[in-house]
C-alpha cells in the first residue's frame, strides 16, 4: 500500500469534472424543475382557494339578487291584480248602467209605439164606423139589406184586422 500522487490528483480532478457535469446536466435542471413544480402547485392551490372564495361571494350575491327579484315580482303581481280587480269592477258597473239605460230607452220606445198604434187603430175604427153609418143611412134599408150591410161592415172590419 503506497500513495500514488498522480492518482490522488486524478481523483480530485475527476471528481470535480463529474461534479460540474452532473450539476449542469442533472442536479440543476431537476432542482429547478422540482422547485418550479412546487411553486406551480402552490400557486394553483392559492388560485383555487381564491376562486372558491370569489365564487362563494358571487353565489351569495346572486342569491340575494334572486330573492330581491322574487320579492319585486310578487309585488308587481299583487299590484297588477289589484289594478285588474279595480278595472273589472269599474267596467262592470259601467256596463250595468249602460244596460239599464238601454233597457229603459227600449221600454219607452215600445210604449211609444204601442200608444201610436193604439191611437191609429182608434182613428181607423171610428172612421169605419162613421162610413158604415153613412152607408146605412144613405139608403132605404130593409131587413135583408140591413143584414147584408152589417155583414159587409163586419167583413170590412175583419179585413182591416
Amino acid at each position: 500500500m503506497h500513495l500514488n500522487f498522480s492518482t490522488i490528483i486524478w481523483a480530485i480532478i475527476n471528481f470535480l469534472v463529474i461534479l460540474a457535469i452532473l450539476y449542469k446536466f442533472a442536479y440543476n435542471p431537476v432542482m429547478k424543475f422540482l422547485d418550479n413544480r412546487s411553486q406551480e402547485i402552490a400557486n394553483n392551490i392559492a388560485e383555487a382557494e381564491r376562486n372558491r372564495s370569489e365564487s362563494e361571494a358571487l353565489l351569495k350575491e346572486y342569491k340575494e339578487k334572486i330573492a330581491q327579484a322574487s320579492n319585486e315580482a310578487q309585488e308587481i303581481i299583487a299590484r297588477a291584480n289589484k289594478v285588474a280587480e279595480e278595472e273589472r269592477n269599474r267596467i262592470l258597473a259601467q256596463t250595468r248602467e249602460e244596460a239599464a239605460a238601454l233597457l229603459e230607452r227600449a221600454r219607452q220606445e215600445i210604449q211609444r209605439e204601442r200608444d201610436e198604434a193604439l191611437f191609429a187603430l182608434r182613428q181607423e175604427v171610428s172612421t169605419l164606423a162613421v162610413m158604415a153609418a153613412e152607408k146605412i143611412l144613405s139608403r132605404n134599408i130593409n131587413t135583408e139589406d140591413n143584414q147584408r150591410i152589417v155583414e159587409d161592415f163586419l167583413n170590412e172590419v175583419g179585413e182591416i184586422h
Binding site: 503506497h2 492518482t7 490522488i8 481523483a11 469534472v17 463529474i18 450539476y23 442533472a26 435542471p29 406551480e40
Partner: protein, 223 residues
C-alpha cells in the same frame, strides 16, 4: 492483488487502471443521470417518479443533517460523492474487476479515497468560510485558545479517517473475495460478493454522511 501498473501519462500525471475505471464510471453516471433527467414531465410517469423519489430521498436524508437550506446548497457535492463512491464500490463486484489492467475499482486504492477525502476536507473548509466568513477561523480556538493544536489535528484527521475507512472496507472485501475465489473457485465468493453490495452501499453512505456532518459542523451557528 498486484500493484496497479501505470498505463500512460497525461501532462506528467500517471494514469493507472483505477483512473481509467473512474472515467468509465463518470461516463456511466453521466449517461444514466442525463437519461433519467432528460425529459421531465409535469405529470411524472413511473420512471420519472422513481428518479424524483431517489432525488427527494437523498435530499431529505441530507436535510436531516444539514437542514433544508444548506442541504440544497451542498446537495450536488454530496450526491455526487455518494453516487460516485457507490458505483465505484459496486464496480468491484463485476467479473474481472481487479484482474484486468484498466479495470480496477477506484475506491480499492488509498490514492483515490485520499483524493475524495481531500475533496471532502476542502469542501468543508470552503463551506465554513462561505457561511461564516473569517469568523470561521474562530472555531479553531474554541472553547479555549489552548485547544488550537487539538482542533487542528481533529480537522486534519477527518479526511484521513474518511479515506482509510473507505479504502480499508472495499480493499478488504475484495481481498476476501479474491482469497475465497482462490480457495474454492466459482461459487464460494458469491455470498461475499452479495455482502459486498451491501458494504459498498453502507460505505458510500457513511462517507457522504460524515462529509455532511463535517459541513454541518463547519457551518453551524455559534456553538
Amino acid at each position: 492483488m498486484e500493484e496497479a501498473k501505470v498505463l500512460f501519462k497525461i501532462l506528467g500525471l500517471e494514469v493507472t487502471g483505477h483512473i481509467t475505471t473512474m472515467w468509465a464510471i463518470m461516463f456511466f453516471l453521466f449517461v444514466v443521470l442525463v437519461l433519467a433527467t432528460r425529459k421531465l414531465d409535469k405529470v411524472p410517469g413511473r420512471f420519472q417518479c422513481l428518479v424524483e423519489y431517489t432525488f427527494e430521498a437523498l435530499l431529505n436524508f441530507f436535510a436531516g443533517i444539514l437542514g433544508r437550506e444548506r442541504a440544497r446548497r451542498y446537495f450536488p457535492i454530496l450526491a455526487t460523492l455518494f453516487l460516485f463512491i457507490l458505483i465505484s464500490n459496486w464496480s468491484g463486484v463485476l467479473p474481472m474487476a481487479g484482474h484486468v489492467e484498466g479495470f480496477r475499482p477506484p475506491t480499492s486504492t488509498l490514492s483515490v479515497t485520499a483524493g475524495l477525502g481531500i475533496v471532502a476536507f476542502i469542501v468543508t473548509q470552503i463551506a465554513g468560510f462561505r457561511e461564516k466568513g473569517v469568523g470561521y477561523l474562530k472555531h479553531f480556538i474554541q472553547p479555549f485558545p489552548v485547544m488550537l493544536p487539538l482542533n487542528l489535528i481533529e480537522e486534519l484527521v477527518r479526511p484521513l479517517s474518511l479515506s482509510l475507512r473507505l479504502y480499508g472496507n472495499i480493499f478488504g472485501e475484495e481481498m476476501v473475495v479474491a482469497v475465497l475465489l482462490s480457495l474454492a473457485p466459482y461459487f464460494a465468493p458469491i455470498p461475499m460478493q452479495l455482502l459486498g453490495l451491501l458494504f459498498g452501499f453502507i460505505q458510500a453512505l457513511v462517507f457522504t454522511t460524515l462529509t455532511a456532518i463535517y459541513i454541518s459542523q463547519a457551518t453551524a451557528e455559534a456553538h
